[in-house]
């Protein structure tokens, strides 16, 4: 028996939708296997991981709160990936955005007015966008590989955050703990529904919906898709690849920066040496699982957020390490990419002995 790929005449729309669902199913199977190998009941593990968080209001809210930054970052990354710009440094853009956004409440704590929060959010978006523009400009001017430069800047951003919270931005009344002062109410994203969720969630959903319309219905959306699929055709239409590189990086960085500011302002309420459990990297999975489509990304963000909450749930209930969450996230991306093969190809099983004509079709 041998596998053979046969190219489909056209993209299979059905498979484009089915592939993430098959991938989630395969990931659940793999997760069950990991539970079984580590000596736990796989069914209980799957229930605790994937289902139980959905049954209680607080954990549902916590999942949605975790999904919020993932969706916001994922939307920006989708625009990058659609236009063939490989920004993998969203984690750094998230951190720098949080730093820019936090500058106001940390350096000017007395400045408390209705303008505080909006200004912070704007600063955050600008900071993330500026950080993201570095690899974009280097790509345009020097032909530098944006994958490597955007990733290197993640490490630089994390070290900058570490330096600030341990040095100049450390809370003067904080007994030398490496953390900034707490933000005032004027600098805090208000809660909604009295749980873990803040106003960040509705803001994120609105942005995702706007982006969905822009991508599907406007010239800009057309430009992004054409330049990704066929840059040559796009250049005949007068689109500039370099301008689009700047645009997509700035947009992705801006959204990641906004997410970073909303996370420190709405969730943590101060800066800490680590402010993200890898949102910027998980958002890459979110973008692919969501078919690089904002609506799909909202659903995918929820699925990936569930893996964080599920990881904590199996740790407290079954004593399984919460590291299993990142394993499951990684497996999920693998399965999505593998299943995406079915969008463009059919798989045919060929037996070695049978003549070529009698090969069975699947």
């Amino acid at each position: 028996m041998r596998l053979e790929l046969v190219k489909r005449k056209e993209r299979s729309q059905k498979m484009a939708l089915l592939s993430p669902i098959i991938a989630i199913g395969l990931t659940a199977l793999a997760a069950a296997l990991i539970f079984a190998i580590s000596g736990h009941n796989p069914l209980v593990g799957l229930y605790k991981f994937f289902v139980e968080p959905l049954t209680q209001e607080w954990s549902l809210q916590a999942t949605i709160a975790k999904a919020t930054p993932l969706v916001l970052i994922g939307c920006g990354l989708a625009v990058c990936y659609l236009s063939n710009n490989w920004n993998i440094g969203a984690e750094g853009q998230f951190v720098v955005g949080a730093l820019f956004g936090s500058a106001l409440p940390i350096l000017l704590p007395e400045f408390e007015s209705g303008a505080t929060l909006p200004l912070m959010l704007i600063f955050g978006a600008v900071g993330g966008a500026l950080w993201a523009l570095i690899p974009a400009v280097l790509k345009n001017w020097f032909n530098t590989n944006e994958i490597l430069t955007s990733l290197m800047l993640v490490y630089v951003a994390s070290l900058a955050l570490d330096y600030l919270v341990r040095g100049p931005w450390r809370d003067p009344d904080g007994y030398n703990f490496p953390e900034s002062r707490m933000f005032s109410d004027a600098a805090t994203v208000p809660d909604v529904f009295g749980g873990a969720m803040s106003l960040s969630t509705p803001i994120t959903i609105v942005i995702a919906l706007i982006l969905a319309v822009v991508l599907a219905k406007t010239l800009k959306g057309f430009e992004i898709r054409v330049m990704g699929e066929s840059p040559r055709a796009g250049s005949f239409a007068g689109f500039s690849a370099k301008r689009l590189t700047l645009f997509s990086f700035a947009l992705a960085g801006g959204l990641a920066g906004l997410a970073g500011t909303m996370e420190v302002s709405g969730g943590l309420n101060q800066l800490l040496p680590t402010i993200s459990p890898g949102y910027g990297f998980t958002a890459i999975i979110v973008a692919f699982l969501g078919r690089l489509n904002p609506i799909g990304i909202i659903i995918a963000g929820f699925v990936l957020a569930l893996s964080y909450i599920g990881g904590e749930a199996v740790q407290s209930a079954m004593g399984v390490s919460n590291k299993i969450a990142s394993v499951i996230q990684g497996l999920l991306l693998f399965f999505v990419l593998a299943c995406d093969t079915l969008i463009l190809y059919r798989i045919r099983f060929v037996s070695h002995h049978a003549p070529a004509g009698e090969a069975s079709h699947v």
Partner: protein, 305 residues
């Protein structure tokens, strides 16, 4: 002082050298595997775990190589047989490797490690300065240099190297000549995985003999940058690896000599900033990069039937 610095530079450069020369072979065959970091961290954790359980550094190294190869086989299957997007699959490999290594390594945090012994050559190792620097390293340091020499020779002086480069430069022609593009590429990917696994083992069994989560700290990515830096020529990888080894131990020595007015975080970020700078300088020179860049790098190949 100078001798001590040189010795740490050698140990810091070795994992970069080994991982980069492996990836160079992969890229020469036309495949871009961005999962070096993931394979390396798996090598580090598996090497540490096996050495810890068996008490044998050699078994640890062998297991690390196997772990790197297993990870790369997964990548190869997706990219070569299922024609998945290479960039995204490489990223997936890194995310998966970091996750899996964290899960496996949790039991080994804080456990004292095992250091691969240094070689001792009677006579030569006792020569002042020259002895410690050249003749008292562990076996993997020498293996690293042997790998570079072997890869350089194979790529440019043997039939196998010619086939590999042909597959990387023009897969359609190589296929038409009857070479199996997929097979050559898969073997190259496995070789890259073995090297990344070995580099990881060096991190956890020689450079800092312990397991710390995320201990490779972006070295896999720096190795990828080194391949660009070397413009796909093995001997230049050595220069790059030692340059980066030097930059990355700067932090250590600056702190030891009380250059306290520079924040340690700034020093720690130097290797990453240096990577960006070097990429800019190399990439700006179009002629240099285009001459040796494998023409089919990152392009998928599906054989016609």
């Amino acid at each position: 002082m100078f001798e001590a610095v040189l010795l740490t530079v050698i140990t810091a450069a070795t994992p970069l050298l080994i991982a980069a020369v492996g990836e160079l072979v992969v890229e020469r065959s036309g495949v871009l595997n961005l999962g070096v970091e993931g394979m390396m961290i798996m090598g580090a954790v598996v090497g540490f775990a096996v050495a810890n359980q068996t008490g044998s550094g050699t078994l640890g190294v062998v297991a690390a190589i196997a772990a790197g190869m297993a990870m790369s086989a997964l990548f190869g299957f997706l990219v070569l047989f299922l024609v998945a997007n290479q960039v995204a699959t490489g990223l997936a490999l890194t995310i998966l490797g970091i996750g899996f290594s964290g899960l496996i390594g949790e039991a080994f945090i804080g456990v004292p490690g095992l250091r691969i012994p240094s070689l001792y050559i009677p006579g030569l190792s006792d020569i002042p300065f020259i002895g410690p620097v050249f003749f008292q390293q562990d076996a993997i340091v020498y293996l690293g240099f042997a790998l570079v020499a072997g890869v350089a020779y194979t790529l440019f002086r043997t039939r196998l190297g010619l086939v590999l480069r042909a597959v990387g430069d023009n897969h359609a022609s190589a296929h038409a000549l009857g070479y199996s593009v997929i097979k050559v590429r898969f073997l190259a990917v496995l070789f890259g995985g073995a090297c990344a696994g070995l580099a990881g083992a060096y991190m956890s069994l020689a450079y800092t003999p312990q397991w710390v989560e995320n201990m490779t700290a972006g070295r896999g990515w720096i190795a990828l940058a080194l391949v660009v830096f070397s413009s796909w020529l093995p001997l230049r990888v050595v220069a790059g690896a030692y340059l980066f080894g030097a930059v990355s131990v700067l932090n250590l020595h600056a702190q030891a000599h009380e250059m306290v007015n520079i924040p340690s975080q700034l020093l720690s970020s130097l290797p990453y900033l240096a990577t960006i700078l070097v990429l800019v300088l190399i990439s700006a020179n179009r002629r240099l990069t285009l001459v040796n860049t494998p023409a089919c790098l990152g392009k998928p190949f599906v054989p016609d039937r």
